[in-house]
């Protein structure tokens, strides 16, 4: 068995398992419920996931906020907040 030269080992190894990250903020006005769809650069939905990084409801009532990767180019956010609200999100795509 012959060993691979070290230089070939490095060159054949993937530089990163993450292909890319897209991030954003969506802002909801005061209405119940409210949906925002945001366009992103195309990703492979089978190799991507979306993270909800944080949300702010500027009202005092209970609210529900969610986010999903609707398709390869669309993030869909939903807020039931009766007041202005924001959602911070990111989409991570793997090779």
């Amino acid at each position: 068995m012959s060993a691979l030269p070290i230089s070939e080992l490095f060159s054949s190894a993937p530089r990163s398992v993450i292909k890319g990250v897209q991030r954003g903020v969506m802002a909801f006005s005061a209405s119940t419920p409210s949906t925002i769809e945001v366009t992103i650069s195309p990703v492979d939905p089978l190799k991507s996931f979306v993270n909800l990084l944080g949300c702010v409801d500027r009202g005092t009532g209970a609210s529900h906020m969610s986010i999903e990767l609707k398709n390869a180019t669309t993030i869909k956010g939903v807020s039931t907040a009766a007041n202005a609200a924001t959602i911070n999100w990111e989409v991570v795509e793997y090779y």
């Binding site: 897209q22 903020v25 802002a27 925002i36 945001v38 650069s41």
Partner: protein, 180 residues
């Protein structure tokens, strides 16, 4: 934050999102940004610059007058406009009102609450009356006896004077001319 930065607009050209993406986005709903600037959120893109948007007032309910009638002795000299916003009547008449607290879509809100409705002279006399309006399950019926010749007005500003911001009521307004 690296990548291509955009503000994304809704149908009213108001920024609802700021994004950092891999590649350029096309279409008039995307406005290229030089930095990840979330201060544009909620602002309207004019095509050249961002302008503040005055938010539409939020109402707890809409006060809608659904009927106005005059007492039998004064019905013949009382004229009521079809939209129930204008009444011409005579001194001594009693007007009977029915009003509803409605949601945006027009359904009656089942609210039990009593309001002091200001009836303000709009003829410069500084006269003012307070009418008790008691809503039961969103519907109120009340009578107003008109004893002097005057131009009375009820409008959105006056009915909201003593209400908290989250209690604000929308009202189309009413003018009553009491003639001798």
């Amino acid at each position: 934050m690296s990548g291509f930065l955009y503000a994304q607009l809704n149908d009213d050209a108001v920024a609802v999102a700021v994004v950092s993406v891999y590649a350029e986005l096309e279409g008039p709903q995307h406005v290229r940004l030089s930095e990840f600037d979330t201060s544009v959120l909620g602002k309207r893109w004019t095509g050249e610059d961002w302008e503040e948007v005055t938010p539409a007032p939020q109402y707890a309910a809409h006060v809608v007058i659904t009927s106005i009638t005059a007492d039998a002795d004064h019905a013949h000299d009382t004229e009521i406009s079809a939209d129930l916003k204008l009444v011409d009547t005579s001194v001594g008449a009693t007007l009977s009102f029915t009003a509803e607290l409605q949601a945006e879509a027009g359904s009656v809100l089942p609210i039990d609450q009593t309001f002091r409705m200001p009836l303000v002279a709009a003829d410069g006399s500084n006269d003012r009356r307070l009418i008790r309006v008691n809503f039961v399950q969103g519907v109120a019926q009340f009578d107003v006896l008109l004893t002097v010749s005057r131009h009375w007005r009820v409008d959105e500003e006056t009915i909201n004077l003593n209400l908290q911001p989250h209690e604000k009521l929308q009202f189309a307004g009413l003018d009553v001319y009491v003639l001798e």
